[in-house]
Amino acid sequence: MVAFLIESVVKVVVVFGVLMLMVAYTTWLERRVLGRVQVRRGPNRVGPFGLLQPIADGIKGFFKEDIVPANADKLTYILAPALSIIPAILIVSVIPFGESVTLFGREIFLRVADINVAVLFIFGLASLGEFGVVLGGWGSNNRYGLLGSLRAAAQMVSYELALGFTLISVIMVSGSLSLVQIVEGQSHVWNVFKPILWLPFALYLVCGLAEINRTPFDMPEAESELACGFNIEYSSMKFAMFFMAEYAHMISLAALITCLFLGGWNLPFGWEAPFVPKVTWFLLKVFVLVFFFIWERGTFPRFRYDQVMNLGWKVLIPLSIANVVAVGLYYTVFA
């Protein structure tokens, strides 16, 4: 019992620490990569290659003045950043990032928690995170903020549906709601290599981007129209928390796609690499996806709001429903 507790605490601390580190360095990576895409250099002053930039930013965040607008709804205003970041961090708790290692004669599974409905858990938490955005915009009593949060709410509702339907086809193929079993099912063929899951993969990528409010779907904080949107009134660490939540969501989305489609910690085609811990492959895939998210941000312009809604309701939702039906038919006819 004690050993179990210690193991859990250590795992939580390590995963949390690594996640925070990844969040910090994703901001650095994003700025560097965007810089290079725009033929600039990006931050390179603080430390070698600007590697200390995230730390400098964090320190700066702490020392900035923390402003609460006079007409803000204090409770929601203060609660919103926390509401935004906590679900984003919690998602990572059910993501399996490796098999098991034996330490001190104990088999330790490389995941904080293995719950049998992990996919649903993540789905619920991801939508909970949106409440932070919605309440933040509402609580700060600012018109731009309110518009941003309204957009966020509308976008979440429309894309969550498509996301859910896409997930169903993955679950049908894997026959499980547990992420561990989904990953283990891909030890020979990754889901993304199964032709029946090509469309869901693409759909999931697109809907996922919309779900985490990333370009080209960054409606809630369209800088050019909403002057930063829902977080316009936030400053100091409260703003930083929204910011961190966004990046934590991005990392957890990458981790989730890795588990659902890219075989988690497995090498493709059942290959084995001795001596290399399998966590490496997991982290590598997450990195590639995060890089893709940044790359894609440097490439695509933002959709217009009505285009986002049209794409969601008229294209993605019908497609994902059709896809569920197709996968279902495939399994009833051929299997």
Partner: protein, 133 residues
């Protein structure tokens, strides 16, 4: 397909940009050479160790931004010189009229664009500062 190809094209383009050499000039270490006729901070020229300026006040009169203040004084041997000569550089529009108006060719705009300070007063460039520039 018609939807996807342009997206992929865009991604390929940005990726090629990602691997290209950045054009950034690393400012304090690398500097861009200003143009030949760049109009930067003023200089009061001197000749034989004396300022050429005779404090006639023409530059003060012509300055469209009214940022020059000249106060004349005479040496015992009857030569006029600027006792006080201040250019409020923050309001200067660097039009170069002062240089054109000067009958003695005593003031010119240099290619120095690197002057900065923390207070407004630091930009009230006085005679001695401008002479040394």
């Amino acid at each position: 397909m018609a939807v996807i190809t342009p997206l992929l094209k865009g991604l390929a383009f940005t990726l090629s940009r990602f691997f290209s050499k950045p054009v950034t000039i690393q400012y304090p270490e690398e500097k861009r050479e200003p143009a030949e006729r760049w109009r930067g901070l003023h200089r009061l020229k001197s000749e034989n160790g004396r300022l050429k300026c005779v404090a006639c006040g023409l530059c003060e009169a012509v300055c469209p931004a009214s940022v020059i203040t000249v106060e004349a004084k005479e040496t015992p041997d009857g030569r006029r010189f600027p006792e006080r000569f201040v250019v409020e550089v923050t309001r200067c529009i660097f039009c170069g009229y002062c240089e054109e108006a000067c009958p003695k060719d005593a003031i010119e705009l240099t290619r120095n664009y690197e002057f900065c300070g923390y207070t407004r007063e630091e930009f009230h460039m006085t005679r001695d500062v401008l002479a040394k520039n």
